[in-house]
Subunit: 192 residues, 2 copies
Amino acid sequence: MKKAHHHGALKQALIEAALDLLDAEGVEAVSIRAVARKAGVSHAAPVNHFPDRRALLTGLAIHCFEELKHAIQSTGIREMPDARSQLIAFVDEFHNYGLNKPNRYRLMWRSDMLDASDEELNAMTDHLFGMVTKMITQFGDPPNISIMSRVVAMCSIIHGYVLLRIDGNFIGLTDEKTGHPRHIALIEALLP
Amino acid sequence: MKKAHHHGALKQALIEAALDLLDAEGVEAVSIRAVARKAGVSHAAPVNHFPDRRALLTGLAIHCFEELKHAIQSTGIREMPDARSQLIAFVDEFHNYGLNKPNRYRLMWRSDMLDASDEELNAMTDHLFGMVTKMITQFGDPPNISIMSRVVAMCSIIHGYVLLRIDGNFIGLTDEKTGHPRHIALIEALLP
DNA sequence: TTGGTCAAATTGACAGTGTCAATATTGGAA
DNA sequence: TTCCAATATTGACACTGTCAATTTGACCAA
């Protein structure tokens, strides 16, 4: 944890500049040079912290995963007694994050643009998958489907819905029958 | 349907060159100049058929949607008697297309890179959504959720699963309890 | 203090990109 | 035939990622 020589904490400054660009103009606008410009350094300065654009985007995605993880934990999910409450809080926060920071959410899953072999990145997705597995397991063994498939179904439905919502599909956001928010109604469709 | 002056059918040739690049190297490689090069014309020739890169990618996505639509219809889905068979055939083809042509599938839903106001493109997604709605409606009114939410759930789970699969998640592809392919087990989890 | 060392940042260059304006080519209509 | 309009070419500009060579500056050992 040593101070950088010229700038001070360039890596952090680069991430923040990149987040601004990402939120405002999408991942296409997150170029090494634009980020460097926004951080007030020369166009090749970032190379010391991120060897290429892929590494920069990977670092950015990791930052976002930690942000989401923290947001989920902030809901007090760990203190909730039953799995249904936990799952609803989890989905709620996922849905919130995706719609409030669509470009960040999209980037997090753009595996074609990220470094798939990055251990830190993989640990983040594994952690989320583990949370879902743990919660779903508490509902017990389903009658006509394996627990694993139910976990996969839950991950798919959450992720798919958020992505489709980000892209502007599905105008009605409330379940017409129960009055619940749509994203809550979706997971109820998968639970006993 | 007039012959083009110099080339003959440049638009079609551009689409096919672009498909090659897309399949081989991803959407990042689909540049106007690379496509023009592959089609054997000058770097600015495509502008007559696609005013900018966004238009090129939109044309490409429309082509892919039609390809998928045709693949679904080729399964004989219209002749199937019950909604469950139809839905399984539909999901099967979606899953196939996504895994066989991952870059095409991804592009089709990259609304941030496409022209969202393109009527032809919107008609394609509306058509797919309409197919799901029609099939789900045949299952009747669910007990604790609206038909619309079940439709949204079905779209989300299919799309989410295919995307996650494309990105290499979920190694086991068979439901451990029923022995069904995982993507079939997923939709069974949503049906009565 | 001095000198050395090495990470960090700068500068300059190269090939590639999207996009525009100006120009050339050509098929078919008048 | 002449002319037009669609089509394609050429050349230019600013931008990008990436590399090599260079300079800067903080820290440590003598």
